[in-house]
């Protein structure tokens, strides 16, 4: 059973923990991931959790990746099976040659049915029951104890564990000792009984300095603070809730006048998503920067208001943290299934601006960008994040801020501007850029106008005249199209050798796509890759498609929604585009992408 040095897999493997939710497993897993991160080795964390508070199976994947890949590996090399209910599934999922660690307080001989893996039993419950008196501690510490056992197997740095626990429980020093004791239980047992079993090892590196581990909802909430949002309205919905939680947290930290206790912000928990949408429309109409975080079901409910904001030209920032649909779907599983919903949300002819962040870092930037774009173009702007980006901790470069940033408040007339004008007309395109000027209530009698979602002419007056109506909606279409080059530009990765094969993808697919491309490149298969970051698509997307014979469009939904937009919006030849679709609800892994690309390329070659 002993693993010699040559056999070792250093800093390149995946750990998965199967557990029961509500038992404190999340903090144990966060600790485990932080230890490796602090050892200077890049990590990827994926929480695959149920829509439930306590008692259902939950998993956490930690990929240790010296090369800094950002997607899932598709393999499980060390399975910590803490949940008898999912033993069978966990056992089956373990990759050949892997290790399964389980609590053998209650031995499970059927684990021995696979000869291609190593099973390790650690009597976690027995040890914790002996060491701790309080029932709740026994449950919580069992999780900390497996962190200790894993630390022993992987050669994790005990000093770092010690430091981390002191930081985590700085305000509750008693808990430090308790946790250290639990770590020692698992660690010592594994060292004593399984000293040479694991060929998976973590060796310290210096690859994480200047990096942070953050989730995209936190960075988006922080981005709203930095972007100058003063108002937020929302209705609680998984998985967007933590975005507002972050906004609240940082507003409390940064936006309360210490002397008076007065808030430079207002956050309203609305009665439903319809009201949340109405509130941010009211606040934006009245000149406050604002936003609402939600998920697909919320967008469905907000759609009537979205059309109103589009037609009445009111800035609106929506974060859609996508989860699987349709209907309630799987609320805690990820997808990119709202692309087309958001692109044309609401009845009538509507088209919206969409931003596609690929990681928490872009969530921060795009939060600020969305606030600017919404006011510049006086229209709804959607930031389409997802559960994977929004709720998982990603290793990203430390966020930076340009102190010279000035918000783009768009075209708002001041009383001084109005004084120089003969008459103000709300929907008149005086600059020829398709964007009319607006005025804020309360500033000047000359700026008064009536905002309506009913038919209006370019002067802002009610109309049922076809020509007058068309004039306004035609301008709206041009205004939307003119945003294409003002959005974050697509990012292109050129292959090492010229190729006529291309990939277009977006958002959280990025890590898996980049890695699959790497692996294929090593096998001599070359693909250029463009990641789109905004809709309407820029000219570069059209050019990219034109420059390739076939383009694989990789996305996380069943109906090829991005591909559909490419066909309808930029007239991309349908037969050039090959959909690669992943919609199981789990974050994309590179093996899936590599296999799909290889098979598709092969099939086309032999066709």
């Amino acid at each position: 059973m002993s693993a010699n040095k040559q056999n070792q897999r250093v800093n390149d493997f995946t750990i998965k923990v199967g557990n029961v939710n509500g038992t404190g497993s999340a903090s144990a897993n966060a600790l485990l991931m932080k230890i490796i991160f602090r050892m200077g080795v890049p990590v990827v964390g994926k929480n695959i959790f149920p829509s439930n508070i306590q008692g259902l199976p939950t998993w956490y994947e930690i990929r240790v990746t010296e090369k800094g890949y950002r997607g899932r590996s598709g393999d499980i090399d060390l399975m910590v099976a803490m949940n008898p209910e999912s033993y069978k599934r966990d056992l089956a999922e373990l990759s050949p040659g892997g290790i399964l660690l389980y609590d053998d307080t209650w031995p499970r001989p059927h684990f021995l049915t696979r000869s291609d893996i190593t099973v390790i039993g650690v009597p976690l419950a027995r040890m914790c029951n002996a060491a701790f008196k309080v029932a709740r501690s026994r449950i919580l510490m069992k999780n900390v104890a497996y962190v200790g056992a894993v630390a022993a197997l992987l050669d994790l740095d005990l000093d770092i564990i010690n430091t981390l626990l002191r930081e985590m429980f700085a305000s509750k020093p008693k808990l430090v000792d308790l946790n250290l004791q639990a770590i020692a239980l698992g660690y010592d047992y594994a060292k004593e009984n399984y000293a040479d079993v694991s060929r998976l090892k973590v060796e310290a590196r210096n690859l994480t300095s200047g990096k942070v581990m953050m989730d995209g909802n936190t960075t988006a909430g922080l981005g709203c603070v930095y972007g100058g949002a003063t108002f937020g309205a929302w209705y609680p919905i998984t998985p967007s809730t933590s975005l507002m939680d972050a906004f609240v947290k940082y507003c409390k930290m940064l936006r309360i006048n210490e002397e008076t206790g007065k808030h430079k912000y207002c956050i309203t928990q609305a009665e439903d998503e319809l009201a949340a949408a109405g509130m941010i429309i009211g606040a934006a109409w009245n000149g406050a920067r604002c936003f609402t975080p939600t998920s697909g079901p919320g967008i469905s409910l907000m759609s009537e208001f979205i059309g109103f904001a589009y037609y009445a030209e009111i800035p609106m920032v929506l974060f859609d943290i996508q989860r699987t649909g349709p209907s309630t779907g799987m609320p805690t599983r990820t997808q990119q299934c709202d692309i087309q919903l958001c692109a044309t949300a609401s009845h009538g002819d509507t088209k919206h601006i969409l931003l596609f962040p690929a990681d928490p870092s872009e969530c921060f930037d795009m939060a600020v960008g969305a606030l600017d774009l919404a006011e510049r173009f006086q229209t709804p702007v959607f930031v389409l994040s997802d559960i994977d980006i929004g709720m998982n901790d990603w290793m990203i470069d430390e966020l930076t801020w340009d102190d010279d940033y000035v918000p783009d408040r768009g075209k708002i007339l001041s009383p001084e501007d109005l004084a120089g004008m003969e008459k103000f007309h709300r929907y008149l395109d005086t600059d020829g850029d398709y964007i009319p000027y607006r005025t804020l209530p309360g500033t000047d009698p000359k700026g008064a106008y009536f905002t309506r979602g009913s038919g209006h002419n370019k002067y802002g007056g009610y109309t049922e005249d076809g020509a007058e109506y068309k004039e306004v909606v035609d301008r709206l279409a041009m205004k939307w199209a003119s945003a294409a080059e003002k959005l974050p530009a697509p990012i292109v990765h050129k292959a090492k050798k010229p190729t006529k094969n291309g990939i277009i993808s977006l958002g959280s697919c990025d890590g898996a796509v980049l890695e699959a491309r790497d692996k294929l490149g090593a096998d001599g298969v070359y693909l250029n890759y463009m990641r789109v970051r905004g809709f309407p698509f820029s000219r570069a997307v059209e050019d990219f498609i034109a420059a390739h014979d076939q383009v694989f469009v990789i996305e996380q939904n069943r109906d090829a929604q991005l591909l559909g937009l490419l066909v309808t919006e930029i007239n991309a030849p349908r037969d050039k585009l090959v959909p690669i679709l992943h919609y199981s609800g789990e974050p994309l892994d590179y093996k899936f992408v590599r296999t799909a690309l290889s098979e598709s390329l092969q099939a086309r070659r032999s066709a």
Binding site: M279, I280, A288, D402, A448
Partner: protein, 351 residues
């Protein structure tokens, strides 16, 4: 046809308010409602109230939903911003607008269809939040724009124009408001301007959510025999129980009422609402009494009107949210941006 501009006619020796403006300066576009519609009378009363309070038109904001009543925001205060939102959703837009700038005077205009069916949720929650606005509910018991369906305010036994009898119990906005924490609850009648104008003035000056449920008959679809929201029926059972007047801070000393008849209520702006009780023993600061009075009068079909409940002590949304004294939309970005150094510091906890 689309919309009409109302001609601005200046008359000699017209009375002016403290701003030097005349009543016509508070007009809007020409109404496109049916001749004799109760709503037009309410529109005139609203314009008059703003005129008499000497509110600068551009410091007022009009919000509405969808329906005949909601159209009326275009028919007064042409120099105010107005927003005609989507059906039943005016309260949320008003809530956001007021959060962004609490310094303006907000008036919402809605109807019984807009507020009591599709918009019931938002209506109730705006009251719970005590959003600082006056909410005019022009109540005619019927859907006008879609030609005569019963609304949720239609009384049991009331008949439709073609004879159908309503068998569902009505939602009484006043009873509803009392139960969810509105802090100024009144009922008026489009046909009694003497009562309505002072009520509107008091409601505009009240800090917090003010509701005036205004019986406003629909001449086209609900003014027939058998309807309990017709002019005839309303006049017959009309009982103006409590008369309210708004007295501005500067006029207070001059106001002289007989002590026994008048109940003064201090407002946050230093002004007063003076209540002339038309019935002995009724105290509109007593919510339980208001509820009792309402249900008691309902049994005799009596339409009890006036300021039925007021509570000046409850915090409004702005106060509950501990918001800055300045409007959110007026706080300079330099005060909102924590800066690069702070961002670095924040991220220490993510290493």
């Amino acid at each position: 046809m689309t919309s009409f501009t109302k001609p601005i006619i200046r008359r000699k020796n017209e009375p002016t308010n403290e701003l030097g403006l005349v009543r016509a300066d508070y007009d809007g576009a020409m109404s496109t409602l049916c001749a004799g519609c109760g709503h037009d009378a309410v529109t005139a009363s609203m314009a008059r109230a703003f005129f008499e309070l000497s509110i600068e038109p551009h410091r007022a904001v009009k919000v509405s939903g969808i329906g005949c009543s909601s159209k009326t925001t275009a028919y007064f205060l042409r120099e105010s911003h107005g927003i005609n939102t989507v059906h039943g959703r005016m309260p949320s837009v008003a809530t956001g607008a007021i959060a962004a700038n609490h310094e303006l005077t907000y008036i919402g205009v809605s109807g019984d269809g807009d507020s009591l069916s599709i918009g019931l949720g938002q209506f109730v929650h705006a009251m719970r939040r005590n959003v600082n606005m006056l909410y005019m509910l022009e109540n005619n018991g019927v859907y006008g724009l879609t030609k005569g369906q019963f609304s949720a305010a239609a009384d049991m036994g009331s008949t439709a124009k073609k004879g159908a009898i309503n068998e569902l119990p009505p939602i009484d906005p006043v009873a509803l408001a009392l139960s969810v924490g509105a802090t100024f609850v009144a009922r008026g009648f489009s046909g009694d301007r003497e009562q309505l104008v002072p009520l509107i003035k008091a409601g505009l000056k009240h800090k917090g959510f003010g509701l005036i449920d205004v019986i406003s008959p629909c001449v086209s679809f609900n003014d027939h025999k058998g309807s309990t929201k017709s002019y005839e029926h309303t006049y017959k059972y009309y009982n103006p129980a409590v008369h309210a007047d708004y007295v501005p801070p500067s006029k207070q000393i001059k106001a002289a009422y007989d002590a026994g008849d008048v109940m003064p209520i201090e407002l946050h702006d230093g002004g007063q609402i003076t209540l002339r009780k038309l019935e002995n023993g009724y105290d509109p600061r007593d919510r339980a009494a208001a509820v009792h009075k309402l249900f008691e009068s309902g049994q005799s079909q009596e339409i009890v009107t006036g300021l039925l409940y007021i509570n000046e002590d409850h915090k409004d949304m702005h106060e509950m949210a501990r918001m800055d004294d300045r409007p959110l939309n007026a706080i300079p970005y330099s005060e909102l941006n924590p800066g690069a150094a702070k961002l670095k510091e924040i991220q220490k906890s993510f290493r």
